[in-house]
Symmetry: C2
Subunit: 221 residues, 2 copies
C-alpha cells in the first residue's frame, strides 16, 4: 500500500486535472465523484478542495459544495495585470542578483525555446517559456511573490492551451526574451523592468484578444 498522504496527492492530481481541462471552469466538483475517481474517502478530498480554495483555484460555498473558479474576461484582465506588476518587480530583483550560472541556463533554455518554435512544437515552446521565467524568478529570489505567481502561471498556461498558442505569439516572445537576457546580463535593472513588463502586457493583450474571439465556447468539460 502506502500511497502516503492521500490529501496531498489528491490535491496535486486535482490541480493538474483542473488545469488539464478535465473539469470545466465554473463546473461543479462533487465530493463523492472525486472520492470515487481518486479512490479515497471524503475527507482527503475535502482537504484538497480547501487547499485549492486557499490558492484561489476553487471556490467553496458552505453547504453548497465546491466549484472550479469561474474564468471570465474580468478575471483574465485581473490576473494579467497582477502578472505585469509582479514580473516587473521580479525582473528588477533578478537584474540585481542574477549570477553567471543562471544567465547560462537562461540562454540555454532560450535556445531550446527557439528551436521548438522553429519546429512548430508549441507545447514545447510553452514549457520552455515557463522554464525561462522560472530561472528569472529563482534569480529574483522572492519566494512569496513566486508562490503567488505560480498559481496564476499555471492557469495562464492552461488558458493558452485552450485558446491556442501559435507562431505569431511565439515570434514576439523570442525577441522579448533575447532583449531581456541582454538587460539582465548588463545588470540594467530599469531596462529589465520595462522589458519584462512590456512582455507581460503583450501577453495580456494577446490573451484578451483570443479569449474574446473564442467567447461563448467558455465551457471546456
Amino acid at each position: 500500500m502506502s500511497v502516503a498522504i492521500a490529501a496531498g496527492a489528491v490535491c496535486a492530481q486535482l490541480r493538474k486535472d483542473i488545469l488539464a481541462g478535465l473539469f470545466a471552469f465554473g463546473g461543479r466538483l462533487k465530493i463523492d465523484e472525486l472520492a470515487a475517481r481518486y479512490a479515497t474517502s471524503h475527507m482527503p478530498i475535502r482537504e484538497a478542495l480547501r487547499q485549492l480554495q486557499g490558492e484561489g483555484l476553487v471556490t467553496v460555498e458552505p453547504n453548497r459544495g465546491a466549484r472550479v473558479r469561474k474564468v471570465d474576461i474580468e478575471f483574465i484582465r485581473d490576473i494579467f495585470d497582477l502578472r505585469v506588476a509582479l514580473e516587473g518587480m521580479l525582473a528588477r530583483r533578478a537584474a540585481e542578483r542574477i549570477d553567471q550560472s543562471q544567465l547560462a541556463r537562461l540562454s540555454a533554455i532560450e535556445e531550446k525555446l527557439e528551436a521548438s518554435a522553429a519546429r512548430k512544437d508549441f507545447t514545447a515552446v510553452l514549457a520552455a517559456n515557463q522554464a525561462f521565467h522560472a530561472v528569472i524568478n529563482e534569480a529574483a529570489g522572492n519566494v512569496e511573490a513566486i508562490r503567488v505567481l505560480e498559481v496564476h502561471w499555471n492557469l495562464i498556461i492552461a488558458l493558452w492551451g485552450r485558446h491556442g498558442y501559435g507562431p505569431d505569439r511565439a515570434a514576439g516572445v523570442i525577441s522579448d526574451h533575447r532583449q531581456l537576457i541582454v538587460a539582465l546580463r548588463a545588470r540594467d535593472a530599469d531596462g529589465a523592468v520595462m522589458l519584462a513588463s512590456a512582455h507581460a502586457v503583450k501577453a495580456k493583450q494577446e490573451m484578451l484578444r483570443r479569449f474574446e474571439a473564442t467567447a461563448g465556447s467558455a465551457k471546456a468539460a
Copy 2:
C-alpha cells in the same frame, strides 16, 4: 446548537488568533490542542489548516504537522516588495476608475485617520489606514490582486502591532495619503502609481528598520 460549518469558523478564528499573536510565528500548531481550544474534532481543524496553508499563513509538512509561517527578515522584504508592486498597479487602476462617492469616502477616512493621529491613538490610525487602502482597492476593482494582498496586509498589520507603530510613521503616512488623494482626484494615473509605490517603499524601510532593531525577540508566544 447550530454553529454551522465548523471548518469555516475555525479557519476564521484561527487566522485571527494567529495574527493576534496567540501563536508564535514558526510555532507548532497541534491538532488535538486546537480541537480542544475550538471545541471540535480533528477534521475541521485539518481543513482549516489546509486552507491557511493555501493562503500562505501556515506551513504543513506531511506526517510532521503544521506550523505558523516563519517570519524572518527575508520574508518581510519579500512581502513588502510584493506590496510595492501590487499597490502601484492598484493605484493606477484606481486613478482610472475611482468615482465621486469613493473619493468622498477616501477624504472622510483620511480625516478620521488624522484625528486619531492627533489623539495619538495609533491602533485607530492603523485601522483607518487599512480602510483607506481598502477604498483604493475597491476602486481598482482587481479582485484577484486584492485577495492576494489581503493576506499580506493582515500580516503586515500584525507586524506593526508587534514592532510598534508610532507618531513618526503616522506623520509620513498622512502627507502621502493627502497627495495620493490629489492625484486620484485629478485622474493622474502615473502620479498615483509613483505616490502609492513610494508610500509602500517607505513602509518597507521603516518596517525593516524596526524589525532589525527588535531582532532576536522574534518570538511572540
